[in-house]
Point group: C2
Chain length 157, copies 2
């Protein structure tokens, strides 16, 4: 693991994306951590608060989905494979309210493998991948989980 260069690499590619979407700026979503296998994005509570004073569900879904999207995007970017990446579908479970900062951590879902995904992408020009995202609470439990499928389509050379 090379956490320092990986984090700098992630900043180089994620920061400009986050700046290009007006709502991610309003939500103040920022890169928190990246080690090549897990990507964490964070957002403060204040701009993401709902009428009850805890985090708005739409913000939780946005931060978690973007973390999953970024995980796939950074892996392909590191391998210099040009792709369009789309979220196809996702299931989110709201388990507990978030009363502070939102942090979403994305990693490959159980049973998924980068190698298999990359092999399919190489042969068919498109690949599909399941990513799991968690928004942990301070006590280690999850405030919310998101299971999302992403599709990568190779750009025409």
């Amino acid at each position: 693991m090379k956490p320092v260069p990986d984090l700098a690499f992630a900043h180089a590619h994620m920061d400009s994306l986050l700046e290009r979407i007006p709502l991610t700026q309003t939500m103040q979503i920022a890169l928190r951590d990246y080690d090549g296998e897990t990507l964490a994005l964070a957002a403060p509570l204040a701009p993401n608060v709902n009428d009850k004073g805890c985090a708005f569900g739409g913000s939780l879904a946005s931060v978690a989905t973007l973390a999953g999207w970024g995980l796939v995007a950074l892996k392909l970017k590191a391998l210099q494979i040009d792709c369009e990446i789309y979220v196809q579908d996702s299931t989110i479970r709201y388990l507990a309210p978030v009363w502070g900062e939102i942090v979403a951590r994305a990693a490959l879902a159980e049973g998924e493998s980068w190698d298999e995904f990359l092999a399919v992408l190489a042969t068919r020009g498109r690949g599909r991948l399941r990513v799991e995202c968690r928004v942990p609470l301070e006590d280690g439990k999850d405030a919310c989980t998101l299971d999302a499928r992403f599709v990568a389509i190779r750009s025409a050379a």
Copy 2:
């Protein structure tokens, strides 16, 4: 059906909620239509645009989830049943990009019934309900669908 009074009733209860969540104001989410069985919310593209120029997935999820939440909230409000309403989980499918206004229409999911839900809520103090939301395109196809479960818990008298 009494579309005119129902719409006024919906405005009276939804507008203040939407005003109390900063992000729904940024997204400019507004009530579009209500007839007692279907609730439509809408939001313009400009504040909800992503880096590709179409609607940001987080906005689609937010508008659709709030439409579902509002459908349950308005029914209970009309019956003067005081409840806290939470979204428990949801599955969203992104089928096509939205290049214009976002409109999300929420209605009870197939097989669900208000009568059954209200009977369980009356006996157990809590009830669960599945709602289907669609974001239609101009050609009548869906840009996105959201299937969400809501829980209503009766407030202590």
